[in-house]
Amino acid sequence: MTALLRRYHFIVPYLLLTPGLIWLAIFYIYPSIQMFISSFWSGSLEHGFTFSLANVHNYTDGLSRYQEQIVRSVFFAAAATIATFLISFPLAYTIAFRAGQYKNLLLFLVIAPFFTSFLLRVISWRTILGDDGLLLGPLKSAGLVSDDVRILATPVAVISGIAYNFLPFMTLPIYVSLEKIDKRLLEAGQDLYATPWSAFRKITLPLALPGIFAGTLLTFIPAMGDYVNAELLGQTPATKMIGNVVQSRFLVNNDYPTAAALSFILMAGILVAVAVYARLLGTEELMSSAG
C-alpha cells in the first residue's frame, strides 16, 4: 500500500480532497443547481411548475419588489459588522498583548456563549431588551428615558442581536493575526522615534489586516442572509431582511421561483461585494507576503 502510494504520490492530494469535495457536491453544488433551475420556473404548487428561460423576469421582479428588504439587509449587516469590529478590535488587542496569564481564560470567555444554543441566546435577548427588561427597566424607573421608548421590534434590536451573535467570528481572526505580530517590529519602530499611535497605525494595524478581513467576511456574509434575529427580535414589517423574504416565499407562499431567484441575487451580490472589498484592502498581497 505504501509502495503504491509512493509510486502514485501525485494522487494523494486528490485523495485527501475527496471527502470535502463530495460533501461540497452533495450539499452545495447539487442544491445550487436545483435552485438555479427552480429560479426559472413559473406556475404554482397546485398547478405545477414549468421551466422556461423567459422566466428570467423572476430576478428583475424579485429585485424591484424586495428592493427595500435588500437595502435594509445590507445596512443591517454593515452596521452589525462595524459594531462587532469596534467591540472586537480592542478586545482582541487586549487579549493578544495585555492579558498575560489570563489569555486562555479570556479566549474561552469569548467562545463560552457558543455552549448555549443559538436560538436560546437570541430569545434571551428578548428578555434583556424587553420594554421593561434589564436594560430599559432601570433607565425608565430612573426617568432617563420616556416610558414609550422601546428597543424590541426596532432596527436597533436586530442589529444588536446580529452583532452579538457574530462577535467571536470577528474577535478570533483578529486575535490570531495580532498574536502573530513580532514584538520586535514595534520596538524597532519606537527606536526610530515612532509615537505609540503611529507605531500602531503603521505596524500593528497593517499586520492585523488579514484578520480584520477574515473577521468582516465571517460576520458580514452570514449577517446578510440572517433571518433569525429579524424574526425573533424585529417581528415588524420595518425590520424584515431579505432572509425573511426568502423564508416566507419558500415556506409560507410556496413561491419557489421567487425564493430561488432572491437567493441567487443575494449570493451574487455578496460575491461581487467581497471581490471589491478584497481589491480595496489588497489583502491578497498581504497574505502572500505574510505567508
Binding site: G43, H47, D131, D148, P237, N254
Partner: protein, 423 residues
Amino acid sequence: MSEQHPSLFDRALTRRRMLQGTALAGVAAFLAACGTAAQSVAPSVAPSVAASEAPSSGPSQAASPSPAASATPKPSPAAELNFANWPLYIDQDSSNPPKSPTLEGFTKKYGTKVNYRETINANEDFFGTIRPALEAGQDTGWDLVVLTDWMAAKIIGLGWVETIDTANTPAFAANESDNLRNQPWDPDNNKRAPWQSGMTGLGFDSKVVGSQTSMAALWTADPRWKGKVWLLNEMRDTIGLTLLKLGKDPATATNADCDAAIAEIKKALDGGVVRSFLGNDYKEGLIKGDLVLGTAWSGDIIQAQLEKASLKFVIPSDGGMIWTDNMLIPKGAAHKYTAELMIDYVYDPTIAAQIAAYVQYVSPVKGSKEAIAKNADKTVAALGQNPLMFPDAATLAKTHIFKALSADEDKYFNDQFSTLQGN
C-alpha cells in the same frame, strides 16, 4: 363555501378521466406531469400511489404471514405509532412532565409505543416537510398528523390521506360533535377526525387596557396600548377578524375583500398602534408586559391566565373566528390500523376530558363536558362551566369560519398578507 371548494381541484379531476382509470393515480399523474416534481421521481408516482390504495382495510402491519385472501384478517395493533402534533396540545402528567397520561394509557391498552412529537408549528411549514414523500407516493414516516381545517381540506383534496375505516372507530363515529360533521371537504366523515377546536378573538391584559370588546380598539392610538399591540401571523385569523370589523363575512371573502382588509390593517400599522405580527410567541410578550392587546387564540389565553390572572379573552362584538385542527392519516402510513385505534381512543369522553382539562381548547367530543365536570379536582371540574372551552349557542353564534379558498385565492390572500408583513 361548499361551491368554492370543488373548483380547487377540478382541473385535476377533468384531467384524471383522460389520463387514468383510477382517480388517485390520475391526480398523482397530473401533478407529476405538471412538473411540480420535475425530478426523476416523477414516473414512479402514479403506480405507487395507486398500489398503496389497493388494500383498503389492510394496514401494512398485516404483512404477517396470514394469507391475504381470507375475508377479514383481524389486524393487530402495531408495536409503534408515529404521531405529529402541535406543542402543548396533549395532557401531561404534572409530576412527570413529558409523560402524557393519555399516551401512557394507550400504550397500556394496546402495547403500542407512541412516538409523539411536538413538531408542528405552522401548517404550511409542516406540510412542506411531508409533501415530497406524499408526492412520491411514499410513507411520510407519520401515522397521524394534526392540521388545521383549510390545510386538511387541501391534503384531502390532493388525495393524500388514508380513509378512516369507521368500523374500527365506533367511539369517533358516535361522539364527534354534530356541528363538525359533514364538512364539504369530507362529506363522508372518514378522512379526518377533529382533534381540538379553538376560537380567535381579542386577548388582552385587563389590568392595563381595561375591558375591551371591539376590534376597533386595535386601530385606536390609546396611550395605554399604542405600540404594544400584536396581530396573529396566521392569515386566516387576522384577515378574518379584520373582515368582521369591516362588516364582511369571512366565509364569502373575495380578493377585493382581502384588499380592503389589508388596507385596513395598514392603517393600524402606519398609525404605530400595531407593533408586531406574531405566532404562538405573543403569549410570552403578553406575560412579560411588552404586549398588552391583540388577536389571540382562546386556549392560549386560558393557559396563560395561570401565569397572569389579569389576562382576558373575548369574542369581539364584531364577531370571532372558529377553526378546528384535525387528525389525518397520511397516505401510505405504515400503521394505519393503529392510528385508527388512537383516533377512537381519544374519542372516549373520559380521555377527551383528560386532554381538554390540560389543553383547554374546545373538545370535539360529545360527553367530554359531563366527564370533566365529574373530575375530583374542583378547579378542573369548574372548567366544565368555562364558556371558552364549552361555548354555548350564543357564543358559537358569534363565531365565523373562513372560506375554503381556491388555490388561486389562497395564493393571492397569502401573498397580500406576506407583503403586509414585509416579506
